[in-house]
Symmetry: none
Subunit: 121 residues, 2 copies
DNA sequence: CAGGATCCAATTCGATACTG
DNA sequence: CAGTATCGAATTGGATCCTG
């Protein structure tokens, strides 16, 4: 019988109310954590890894580049010896803080309430 | 803007955050939308589908069962003829609202700011 | 140490079809 | 209408190795 080619999937870009717009930024693993740890001020790659012991180098650099390309995070090279880079929130990034804070607050309540699994970072 | 004014990096990283706990609930596709649309009051399956025209029946019922199993959403059978079911937020679900609202608020700002893709509601 | 490249198992989610 | 079952494409994110 003939080869059956599947119809192309619609693959709609994220959905309906404005949550999609925000979740496109915050929705991936570790993203809110990264933003959270940057919220106190610029931080270096290794510091962030230390903040989140479970994250892999790949994940972290991937997320940082994602966020940079979205204008949420800014990478600045610090002239030192050896020169190193620091990551910080942009203004756009700062605008996300209320949401992150709300997420953190609810997360804490959920954790108490459910008395559940430990989380690193 | 040239180089960002580099403030001293954070000496005191924020304490462990509970982001993961919350994102485990909100992190999957459509979840915040579903909660959002339930926040105005109980709603039936078909109504929710209508609220989110892009969601598939499978997704919706999957998300509803997820949320039910997490105690966020409650399914109650309404005695009518024929009897039908309604979904509503539990108290735990209501506790998530501040986060959802913050996400929606930021989403709207992002949309304005980026002047991007259209989204309804 | 900071980060990229590659490989791969697991999950996610859309389309489709089916049931009461 | 209200939902479930199955299939499979695409995405995810972890592990590992490689680089300057």
């Amino acid at each position: 019988m003939a080869l059956k080619i599947r119809k192309n999937r619609a693959k709609n870009p994220p959905p309906t109310c404005a949550v999609g717009t925000c979740m496109q930024v915050l929705g991936k693993a570790w993203t809110p954590n990264v933003i959270w740890y940057l919220s106190a001020g610029p931080r270096r790659f290794g510091e962030l890894r230390h903040d989140m012991p479970q994250i892999s180098a790949k994940m972290l650099s991937e997320r940082l580049r994602d966020l940079e390309s979205k204008g949420v995070v800014e990478r600045c090279v610090v002239p030192s010896s050896p020169p190193s880079a620091e990551y910080g929130l942009t203004e756009l990034g700062l605008e996300l803080m209320p949401a992150i804070e709300a997420i953190v607050a609810v997360g804490k309540r959920l954790k108490e309430r459910m008395g559940q699994a430990a989380e690193a970072a």
